[in-house]
């Protein structure tokens, strides 16, 4: 069923009984052209673009829980393309362009809201670094705007501009950045892929990767063996565990990141703001809750929950930036397990096994990448060669000395 104003009217007059399920719940077939492991945003987007851009529809997405139960439904929903390095920037800009047309493409309201993203700076050195980043963005054709203190103050007078340690001296703004309703992204891609014939199989955990003569022939799952010609891994925080089934050791550690929502407030903050001092970022959802987060907990973890020390740390950073937050109560907090790579940048590449493909290492920034990640991974799966925007995101880049290290921290995943 196509969603439209007319369909809402028609069903409104028919006591809302005409709505049908947004996707099917099929039993797995014996064999698929392509199997994708992981029904998160990236896996579902890959299936959609495989069907839409490459006409490959005999595809299954295998998800061990329910779709949206992973990071795609746990993130703080920020999208942006304000990257510095040439290996990253064109890819994230492609993603932002895809976000801009996503709702029409999927016929699904993902609440894409280009409310702007501002990164604050507190010192002259930080300002210079942001000027450099802004210039790099503009050279790539991406919008970037430097705001001085007065401008930021006129937009958000409630921030602590004269904090003794971290005075706010301005910010770098990308107006086309913003937020997207994260669950709707999973649902929208699932519905669109399903409509083109993709089987989305939930409650189906991949437990083994079967190989014959050095090629993948299929996967063992909690619903039995399923054969395939090509296998794509998009298991986010569980990438290492899935890759291990094919004897691959990845340049990845799994870490937990927490997110928080406050009680609902009246409209207060109409953009996304990132504190330059304590890695704190905040926006306000349409329901009124403040959505915010900070640093990762800093230790390897497969538990989707974090520690109180970070809860406190994030609150402190938030109050340093917006003192009024001290009066606001936390409503909920949760954690997600992310695949932190050795340079903080992702991997979309072939593997040493001929028909096994890898999409991993998204760290805490993979939500904004969802459309482009799906688009480029589908390209790789269909054509066997990387999309032009992902030629730097190779699995063997560390061995060759071509890390894409935006922050310059080196191979220390808990610092990226």
């Amino acid at each position: 069923m196509r969603y439209s104003a007319l369909s809402i009217l028609r069903n409104g007059f028919a006591r809302q009984l005409g709505w049908t399920s947004a996707w099917r719940f099929p039993k797995p077939k014996a064999h698929y052209d392509v199997i994708i492991v992981g029904g998160g945003g990236h896996g579902l987007a890959t299936a959609h673009y495989l069907a839409k851009e490459h006409g490959i529809t005999n595809v299954a997405v295998l998800e061990k829980g329910y779709i949206g139960s992973g990071n795609v439904g746990r993130n703080t929903t920020i999208i942006r393309s304000n990257y510095l390095l040439p290996g990253n920037n064109p890819f994230y800009e492609l993603s932002l362009k895809l976000w801009e047309g996503l709702e029409q493409d999927l016929n699904f309201n993902a609440m894409v809201s280009q409310r702007g993203v501002i990164n604050l700076f507190h010192t002259d050195a930080q300002r210079d670094a942001y000027i450099r980043r802004g210039n790099a963005m503009r050279l790539h054709g991406v919008d970037a705007e430097l705001l001085d203190r007065a401008k930021v103050q006129s937009m958000m007078p409630f921030m602590d501009f004269d904090n003794a340690r971290f005075p706010i001296k301005g910010g770098l703004m990308q107006r086309r950045g913003g937020t997207v309703r994260h669950d709707a992204v999973a649902w929208g891609y699932a519905r669109a892929a399903d409509k083109r014939g993709v089987d989305i199989i939930q409650d189906c955990e991949v437990t083994g990767i079967r190989r014959e003569n050095g090629r993948v022939v299929g996967v063992d799952t909690s619903q039995g063996f399923i054969g395939c010609n090509k296998l794509g891994l998009a298991a986010a925080g569980n990438s290492s565990r899935v890759a291990e089934m094919a004897d691959l050791k990845l340049p990845i550690e799994s870490h937990v990141l927490q997110a928080f929502v406050s009680e609902g407030l009246k409209p207060f903050l109409d953009t996304v703001v990132v504190y330059g001092a304590g890695h704190f970022y905040i926006s306000q959802s349409d329901k009124g809750g403040l959505v915010f987060g900070g640093d990762i907990d800093g230790y390897n973890s497969y538990a989707q929950r974090g520690n109180l020390a970070i809860v406190e740390h994030v609150a402190e950073a938030g109050i340093a930036m917006i003192p009024a937050l001290s009066r606001v109560r936390y409503l909920r907090s949760w954690g997600g397990v992310m695949d932190m790579s050795m340079d903080g940048s992702p991997i979309i590449d072939r593997t040493p096994i001929d028909n096994l493909y890898l999409n991993a290492g998204w760290c805490y920034g993979g939500f904004k990448a969802t459309p482009a990640s799906g688009f480029c991974f589908a390209h790789l799966l269909a054509r066997g060669e990387p999309h032009p925007t992902t030629t730097a995101m190779r699995l063997d880049r560390f061995e060759r000395g071509y890390a894409i290290d935006e922050r310059g921290y080196g191979p220390q995943p808990n610092l990226h």
Binding site: R241, L250, P251, Y299, S301, Y302, F398, Q412, N414
Partner: protein, 88 residues
């Protein structure tokens, strides 16, 4: 994770006193082949379960420790001085 960690030198101390460095891997010999160094610096087994990692008791004795911890339950099994660690 447990809020209290038993440092072999300082006894039970709050977790916040420690900084976690990450995987406690055995360092290859300086002249080991490139491949071995690549593996050591960049690749991780990243297990779900028992894991050995280097912790620094920053706000205590300032010794480097090896903590054995479960990455799914976060339970801490063991904590000893890095110098006493059996060579692997």
């Amino acid at each position: 994770m447990a809020s209290l960690i038993t440092c072999p030198h300082c006894g039970q101390r709050p977790k916040e006193e420690f900084a976690i460095k990450g995987a406690a891997l055995a360092r290859p010999a300086p002249d080991a082949p490139q491949g071995e160094w690549y593996d050591y610096v960049f690749l991780r087994t990243n297990p779900r379960g028992r894991y050995e990692e280097y912790w620094h008791h920053v706000s205590g004795c300032r010794r480097w420790l090896v903590v054995t911890r479960d990455t799914a339950s976060h339970a801490v099994e063991d904590c000893r001085d890095a110098a006493e660690r059996a060579p692997t």
